[in-house]
Symmetry: C2
């Protein structure tokens, strides 16, 4: 097939040209860009001298109100679809809340060697690092175009001989696939029989309002579903404003049943007196309520849409109908997930690096950094400009062709 | 002794009068007062839109710089008398940093049942709650007018048959005695032989700049002393601005040897991506350097001095030469420690409560809330006004007399 051969040669030539003039580009992490932060800059001046009390009269400069400002709890309750009493406000990081919850469960409740967490893959690398750090075993669960492999989840969770204690879920616009759980998947997670009576769903709603369209994708209410199924304590909810206001400068929240909130309250009062209420107050004044957050996120979407479109355009231009890669077309979130042919992801990463494009290391989306098929790559389009993205995706596309050749 | 009897009767009468008209007063927690916070209000507007980069050029609205802003590390290094590389910036709470350190040590290093921490008493209740929560045993060590009981510390730390792993120390203006360690005590802690090769001093420098006088009491440099004694990794340092800028709205820091900093860096990157750099930047702009912090603390002292004087005046008026109580005369910090006759502290607390004055529960300054002699009471003068304090101390004085009668 001389045509195939000439296509391969053309790709190699193109690649060498790109390597000769490498433009350093970074597609590794899901960082917002400066234009997104500019949308929140008013937040920096909405709590000035003499404006330090919330509506309940709390002087936010002093100790106290460990559960978080009532208004902030109400705002997160709306976003997470929980009651205000079902929400506790944290510091600046939902990952830290997850760490603290897992750490306390591991220390006081799940003390056997290597209790197992189910990990939909590809998934969020920091969930896996955290789990390994705290001594959890991990079992991969496939998440693909058809959604979660619910059958495997049910089988693993129900296995009396094993120690499966929970599952990580990013329910809306999952990292990195962008997949949003369908109703029947939420129901199945809520209803399924589990061998562990204290099985927990770690519901990391990191992209709850991060739509590229006007409205976030519909998502069933896990808490109601769990309660209706007789498992009110099964779900632990997490969210933050890191990709809404300022990254690492926002507000995180934990939510769950009354029993879980009371448990968390007792845990965390030992660790700290309260969160930063001044920053809570800033967020409350700036956003007012969930509708304010959603309006704000439509302005984010206007910035991000062209970037996600550039990724799709670029991938289609380089790879459409080649059979060399498949990728997701997310309607929200922070990533595009791309699968090369089996055995090529690491090599593609290395090739892209030679041409200046830094990708999240192949395997990072799997527990212990090991993608059994060496296929998955995560693309983070939010931080670079459209022009940079176009260049980077072109490099990636050519790297995939060269790797296959 | 009819004179004694009539004095007792007079005290009882006075007490009943106070009870008849109770004014609710709270001396329980070391909370700054609003006037102190007012001194920091400029901090609320020193990072506005377009002012979000530090001197190193970091956009403080985005992820990154997990160790903390270089300028903030340098500022804390000056305050804690460490090198800037020896400091990591945390969130808003030094207690949280202590929790994370102890929790990690307990999980990964000190795994035997109930490793022991030495606890100078009276001491800070939250140190003890945290230790108990993480499964540490605690041994009381006396701290009195003559300082730390170094002999007991050395004996306990050197005991091969036990599992003594560390000691809690609030080195300057200790909570609640106000005691500052003398050079020879710092040297002894640095030099002493310990059975545990990884013995740790938890150096909670909570009141490092909190003098009631113009300059803080001299304090030897523990880190240098430990290094000189061949134990560079023995000391772990903690500090925060909670009682400098805003309580629970400030910046905390961890410090130690290169090895300890690297260990902590590896631990905490699993838990969170970074601290709130915008709040770091506010503090950096507002204080500039350690000299700025010290000047600021002289303004705090001007507010607090009359309050501490009112406590001394009141206690002397009610209790001088009665032999019913002894109390400390701190030159900084947030508390006065008062000892009643043995067996009276709980009763005094209950009596004071009847007259409207809420005291920290008797025993709170000891592990497990148990003061073996039932003597110690902690007085927190910072939050109430001078008038409220005068009234509250009068109630306390009378309650002590009535209890003794």
């Amino acid at each position: 097939m001389p045509e195939v051969e000439s296509r391969k040669a053309a790709a190699r030539q193109k690649f060498e040209k790109l390597c000769a003039d490498p433009l350093p580009l970074d597609l590794t992490r899901g960082k917002p860009c400066a234009a997104q932060f500019d949308l929140s800059d008013e937040l920096l001046r909405c709590v000035g001298p003499g404006e330090v009390r919330d509506e309940a009269g709390n002087d936010c400069r002093n100790y106290g109100v460990p559960d978080g400002l009532p208004g902030m709890r109400a705002l997160f309750a709306e976003l997470l679809e929980l009651s205000a009493e079902g929400v506790l406000i944290g510091g600046n990081s939902s990952l830290a809340l997850m760490f603290d919850v897992l750490s306390a469960l591991r220390r006081d409740v799940w003390r056997e060697p290597a209790p197992v967490l189910l990990c939909p893959v590809p998934g969020y690398d920091r969930h896996f690092t955290l789990s390994a750090h705290l001594g959890f075993g991990m079992q991969n669960i496939a998440i693909g175009a058809n959604g979660l492999d619910i059958e495997s989840i049910e089988r693993a969770a129900a296995d009396d001989a094993r120690r499966v204690k929970g599952i990580w879920i990013v329910p809306r616009y999952q990292n990195p696939t962008g997949y949003t759980l369908r109703d029947e998947e939420v129901q199945a997670l809520a209803r399924m029989k589990t061998a562990a009576p204290d099985f927990r769903i770690f519901w990391d709603n990191a992209y709850m309002v991060h739509a590229l369209e006007d409205e976030p994708a519909p998502l069933a209410n896990l808490q109601s579903a769990c309660a209706a199924a007789g498992h009110p304590d099964r779900a632990l909810h997490f969210g933050s404003t890191s990709k809404i206001s300022f990254a690492g400068g926002g507000i995180a929240a934990f939510g769950g049943s009354a029993a879980n909130v009371e448990w968390m309250r007792r845990q965390r009062i030992v660790r700290t007196i309260n969160g930063d209420k001044l920053n809570q107050l800033r967020h409350l004044r700036f956003f007012r309520n969930a509708a304010g957050v959603r309006a704000h996120m439509r302005r984010h979407a206007a910035i991000l849409r062209p970037k996600f479109e550039a990724v799709q355009r670029g991938l289609e231009a380089e790879l459409k109908d080649t059979g060399l890669a498949e990728w997701t077309k997310p309607k929200g979130g922070y990533f595009v997930s791309l699968d090369t042919c089996a055995g090529h992801a690491q090599q593609v990463c290395a090739l892209a690096a030679r041409a200046g494009v830094k990708l999240t290391p192949a395997g990072a989306t799997f527990p212990h950094g090991k993608d059994p098929q060496d296929r998955n790559l995560r693309i983070a389009p939010t931080f670079p400009s459209v022009e940079e993205l176009e260049r980077a995706i072109a490099v990636l596309g050519v790297a995939i062709q060269v790797s296959a050749a």
